[in-house]
């Protein structure tokens, strides 16, 4: 059983590699599944077993890079002595480093995400558990170590960080500076901002303000309606529950 599993992984990796090469060569639209299968030395049905659609190949690629990144980070002996910002920065820099050899491929994904409806950013989320889990771990440890105060909407932060990462990739694919040193600086400076935000209480204060405005003004105007329509009080109760849950 174990052998089959690793054989499966091997086949999958082989298909993925030949698919990436073909897409770089012919472009996403013109690269056919048939040719990918042929290049990888597998049959037509086999490739569909692994990747029912061409889009799935893209998601699998991104996931593959997350896995490799996770392995590289695990090898850093003193990673626990890194600050939260240094850990996040290492995560991003390592992902980008792995993307480098397939830069043209990443360029295509990025174009599809930002310039055509071909690919939905939303669909990428489901394959990012490895990435978001890494971020979640780093955040949790930093909170526990009291490096940062517990931020509001904590459970949404890893996803937000993924959005930030997408932005970094978008910057990187357009970066024409030598050794992509602009991207390096962009990451360094923007993470400085993120670090400052996380370390300050600004996020908490802003959250408090938002909550105050919402509860006091938005909910009280709902109250007015609720006198007339009893159904609204139900809605109000639900909203409250939602807020409490979100906390």
């Amino acid at each position: 059983m174990k052998v089959t599993q690793s054989a499966k992984e091997k086949t999958k990796a082989k298909i993925l590699a030949s698919a990436v090469d073909l897409i770089i060569e012919k472009g996403f639209k013109n690269a056919s599944m048939r040719e990918m299968a042929k290049n990888a030395g597998v049959s037509n049905p086999t490739i569909y077993n692994y990747f029912p659609t061409k889009e799935k190949i893209l998601y699998a690629y991104v996931e593959q890079k997350h896995k490799e990144t996770a392995l590289i980070l695990q090898e850093i002996e003193d990673f626990n002595t890194y600050t939260l910002r240094e850990q996040l920065q290492t995560l991003i820099e390592t992902e980008l480093e792995l993307y480098l050899e397939d830069r043209e491929f990443v360029l295509q994904i990025s174009d599809m995400v930002f310039h055509s409806a071909g690919l939905k950013l939303e669909s990428l989320y489901s394959n990012n558990e490895i990435f978001t889990d890494m971020v979640k771990d780093m955040l949790e440890i930093a909170i526990e170590a009291e490096e940062i105060p517990r931020p509001p909407l904590e459970e949404h932060l890893p996803r937000l960080f993924w959005d930030y990462y997408i932005m970094v990739v978008a910057y990187w694919v357009k970066d024409d500076s030598e050794m992509f040193e602009n991207t390096t600086q962009f990451i360094d400076h923007s993470l400085g901002v993120i670090e400052a935000l996380l370390q300050s209480s600004i996020m908490n204060k802003a959250h408090d303000l938002g909550m105050f405005l919402f509860k006091t003004h938005l909910l009280s105007s709902l109250e007015k309606f609720s006198v007339k329509k009893a159904g609204l009080s139900k809605l109000k109760r639900k909203l409250f529950e939602g807020i409490e849950n979100a906390k």
């Binding site: 850093i76 002595t81 240094e86 996040l88 290492t90 820099e93 910057y171 602009n182 390096t184 400076h189």
Partner: protein, 435 residues
């Protein structure tokens, strides 16, 4: 796609503008205060004002992040006889280059040397050992060798042009007559060399091979582990300048090291025709067994025979106190005085250059010079410069950059010797000057 901290020239100009505004305030504060003060207090207050101005300049250049700090050092050292307070502030500015954190150092090493630090070195200190010009230094060990790895902050090289432009604009206020262009050109050339660590590696190796002195130690470069932005060399164990002074060295020890610094300069000048042109105290390591380590060869200056001949001739003439007419002619040959009618040239010499070179040549008058006794050396120099600047005499358009660089390096050393209160013996240097 552009990014970053003050990117456009206008934004940077804005920061500098703010600094100029602050300088204005600092100066006028001094003036107002001084008007109501007794004589002794006046000197003290002037010192404070200088310190304040220096701080403002450096602070604002620091917020520009890029390479400005380095330029500030270069320019400040290029204008001879800046007050000591300026120099103090400038040496502090070494710490204001943005830090390279653990994530970034890992990335740079991987990118430049092809692998992560943990896979290249037996041990690699993630925390920087110290700030270096345009980057920071990390300590590592490999095969039982202790190494110093200088790493440059990314994107530094690119910011030179825009930063220089801004600085030129700011400095025209200080320099009457706009004779700063040539100097700025020289500074730019030095800086572009300094950001390229491969050139520094060449220079270091050149000094390693050619500067022969039993008590002078020069690091050995590891070429395999060096690139344009990473420089690996052997680590020199010892004290920095401030550390050395803090340990209350004896007069003999202080004299010994000052002498080594002074003599090694002239050895470089005459034996190698190359000088270590960055007289920052941080570039000297006070090692055990009376040895002196010389580090950081990012800023060196090569000098040709023609220059050395006229430089020596001029110094001999100054030491022998030849007639002003003769000296004027030599300055003109060195391109330090614009060609004009003999009378006008003589006038320029006597009004502008002579007051300065009298102070400068004072060092060489006797066999020794005691900086403890003459602890007002740089202050006198600065006052003279200020007085010279008040005389709005026609500008020098064609300054000899080599001459300026050699001079400003020596002046930098003298500022150090003054701090060390050392006595130096000038006989060896004079022998070289006289051939």
């Amino acid at each position: 796609m552009q990014s970053k901290i003050p990117t456009t020239k206008m934004a940077r100009g804005g920061v500098v503008g703010k600094a100029m505004l602050k300088i204005g305030v600092a100066s006028s504060k001094g003036v107002v205060k001084r008007a109501f003060m007794s004589k002794d207090k006046r000197a003290e207050s002037q010192k404070e004002t200088h310190a304040e101005i220096a701080k403002v300049i450096i602070e604002s250049l620091g917020t520009l992040k890029g390479i400005s700090v380095k330029i500030a050092q270069q320019v400040a050292l290029g204008l001879p006889f800046l007050p000591k307070e300026y120099l103090d502030e400038i040496s502090k500015s070494f710490n204001s280059i943005p830090p390279i954190n653990k994530a970034l150092i890992r990335k740079i090493i991987k990118q430049e040397l092809g692998n992560y630090p943990q896979n290249i070195f037996d041990n690699f200190e993630n925390n920087a050992f110290g700030a270096a010009s345009l980057g920071q230094v990390h300590i590592a060990t490999k095969d039982d060798r202790k190494l110093a790895i200088k790493v440059q902050y990314p994107g530094i090289a690119k910011s030179i042009d825009s930063d220089l432009g801004v600085l030129k604009f700011a400095l025209t206020r200080f320099a009457k007559g706009g004779n700063i262009d040539h100097l700025m050109g020289e500074v730019e050339a030095r800086l572009k060399e300094e950001v390229d660590y491969e050139i520094e590696a060449d220079n270091t190796e050149h000094f390693y091979k050619n500067l022969k002195h039993d008590l002078i130690v020069i690091p050995k470069v590891d070429r395999e582990l060096s690139t344009k932005t990473v420089l690996t060399s052997s680590f020199l164990e010892g004290d920095g300048f401030e550390e050395f002074l803090a340990k209350n060295p004896t007069q003999k020890e202080k004299n010994h090291y000052a002498q080594l610094i002074f003599d090694s300069f002239f050895m470089g000048l005459y034996h190698m025709q190359m000088i270590h042109a960055d007289p920052n105290p941080g570039n000297f390591i006070f090692m055990v067994d009376k040895k002196l380590g010389l580090i950081d060869f990012g800023c060196v200056k090569r000098l040709d025979d023609e220059f050395l001949t006229s430089f020596s001739k001029l110094h001999v003439s100054l030491m022998d106190v030849l007639p002003d007419e003769e000296i004027t002619q030599q300055y003109a040959d060195l391109r330090m005085i614009d060609r004009d009618t003999p009378l006008k040239m003589l006038e320029f010499y006597q009004e502008v250059i002579k007051p300065l070179d009298r102070i400068y040549i004072e060092i060489f008058e006797g066999d020794t010079y005691d900086f403890k006794e003459h602890n007002d050396f740089s202050e006198r120099g600065f006052k003279t410069i200020m007085e010279v600047q008040k005389k709005s005499i026609t500008a020098v358009h064609n300054m000899n950059e080599d001459y300026i660089f050699v001079d400003r390096t020596l002046l930098g050393y003298y500022a150090m010797f003054e701090k060390m209160e050392a006595t130096i013996d000038t006989t060896f240097a004079k022998r070289l000057v006289r051939y």
